[in-house]
Amino acid sequence: MMATNSPLQRDNADDIGVAFNHASVTFAAEVPLHLDSGKTLGPFSIAYNTYGTLNKSKSNAVLICHALTGDQHVANRHPLTGKEGWWSLLVGPGKPIDTNRYFVIFPNILGGCMGSTGPSSINPETGTPYGLKFPMFTIGDMVAAQHRLIEHLGIDQLFAVLGGSMGGMQVLEWASRHKDQVFAALPIATAAWHSSQNIAFHEVGRQAVMADPNWLRGDYHSHGVVPRNGLAVARMAAHITYLSEDALHEKFGRNLQNRSDRTFSFDADFQVESYLRHQGSTFVDRFDANSYLYITRAMDYFDLAAENGDVLANAFRGTRTRFCVVSFTSDWLYPTRESREIVQALNAVAANVSFVEIDSNAGHDAFLLDEPEFFATIRGFVESCASKRGLPPPGEEA
């Protein structure tokens, strides 16, 4: 047996009413993943949630790829934080990604910390967590692992692959590496390569983690400690990049936090400081510091043009996939200019591409928020693709 399932938790219906299955598949050491770094990883597991029902012809599968700190709990209540799923506005019964119509698959990425094999998993060779012995992996490796999952599920072609930010990078890799297996692709708030500025921000975050004395060169699990402070600072710095100056100003201005005057100290006098500290400390409870280091590195290494002879268009040559590229006006982490580079490359190979820029002042995080124009775009694009693919409307199962 080359792949084994963990017992399925069937038909969980949580209190926000979305039925989902939580599952995990483990690929044996005899069929390891060959990573871009030249190393191999095996055995490895991919944890995933599914929503909806796969139709008989297996033509209604939608793969959703999560962002840096996302996970598979996209439309159900999160088991650790108790919050609603991070894309529950987009995915669910009657939502733009309608779980009454599509079979929606959400894997936790390779290297993540919500059930898929990552740096906090036990290294079978040592019996202790991998830590820095975990091999470096890339966005392409994440996609290779997801491809194994799709094969395991017996799906030949995904109806759609979508994702925002790092999820969008995976979408681009899918569309590039598995052209015939992606009917529609939605790279959202993303780029075909990680910019110098984005690498710079990631480096600040990593240095904050590694400067924490509890990091212990990545071996903190064995010593029963967590580099909380470092990871929290990394999250605080990153969180600023997910917002916009306007959004911060509107939300906090120079308002003071539960006090009438400055304290002339380094307390969190300002609401924005208090907010960031909260973001940092809650993040630490749900995310592994080493995963953060590895995943940010994978993003930094991402350059779809470099993978294709320095010509981005080569990544898409011969594609028949229908693309919908989406950016947001106030996103300065993955600005519209970078989405436009993807569109130009797709145009250069006469690909079928739609491109919309959504007007929002919410910054990069806009793709996770209630943006009606964004949802209308996704719904329209996906529905037209479904009709081109011959998928019946909900309630009219073929």
Partner: protein, 215 residues
């Protein structure tokens, strides 16, 4: 087939005429596609593989939300990205007069499409001529409603002017039709004088005299 007597009650008779010029099942790029009316018409009646480019973000989003493949872009800047003869038809309807460099735009359309279909408001129409002659002011018509300082139309031309550009670009005019404000069609024959006088808008189907080789 051209029907000289046909009167069509729509604000965009040029759309119907363009739709007649397009072969079923072909690949079409509509540059300046607006709210996607023509693309939808072509998709519905000619089953074309329809793509659009539109400058206005709101209109692009509306197009994509109704299931059309449209990108936000600019005829002056973004046509250079497309490969040669990527489409059977590259269409520019009532947009060329609003481009910065109409000649380059037309060259790109003739390169991208095996055929280019262009419609434009005719600045040689008698009402425009008389307005300018009698009042000495820039004419304002239903096709050109804005005052000169607010108009997006920086490169207006007459039918005669357009034919001259086609000759300059070594272009074959396969079909050309002008129509008056009632939507009555006036096919453009050898003599342009009447059409240039009575045609309010014109639609031209063009191709390069020596089509670029496929490779």
């Amino acid at each position: 087939m051209l029907d000289k007597t046909k009167t069509v009650h729509t604000s965009r008779v040029d759309h119907l005429l363009i739709a007649e010029m397009v072969a079923p099942g072909s690949r079409v790029l509509d540059v300046g596609c607006g709210d996607g009316e023509l693309l939808q018409l072509l998709a519905d009646t000619k089953a074309v593989d329809a793509r659009g480019v539109e400058l206005s973000r709101e209109r692009v989003n509306a197009c994509v939300a109704r299931g059309l493949s449209v990108i936000q872009g600019d005829a002056d800047q973004d046509l250079a990205d497309y490969p040669d003869q990527a489409f059977d038809y590259a269409i520019l309807s009532l947009t060329i007069q609003a481009t910065l460099r109409p000649r380059e735009v037309l060259e790109n359309l003739l390169r991208i499409g095996r055929r280019a279909i262009i419609s434009f408001p005719n600045f040689g129409h008698w009402r425009i001529r008389t307005d300018l002659l009698l009042w000495g002011r820039m004419p304002r018509t239903t096709n050109l409603p804005e005052p000169w300082y607010a108009s997006p139309d920086s490169h207006l031309c007459t039918i005669r002017d357009f034919v001259e550009l086609c000759e300059l670009l070594d272009t074959v005019v396969e079909e050309a039709v002008a129509f008056n404000s009632a939507g009555r069609r006036l096919p453009i024959k050898r003599s342009l004088s009447l059409q240039n006088l009575f045609g309010e808008k014109a639609v031209f189907k063009l191709r390069h005299r020596a089509p670029a080789q496929n490779f």
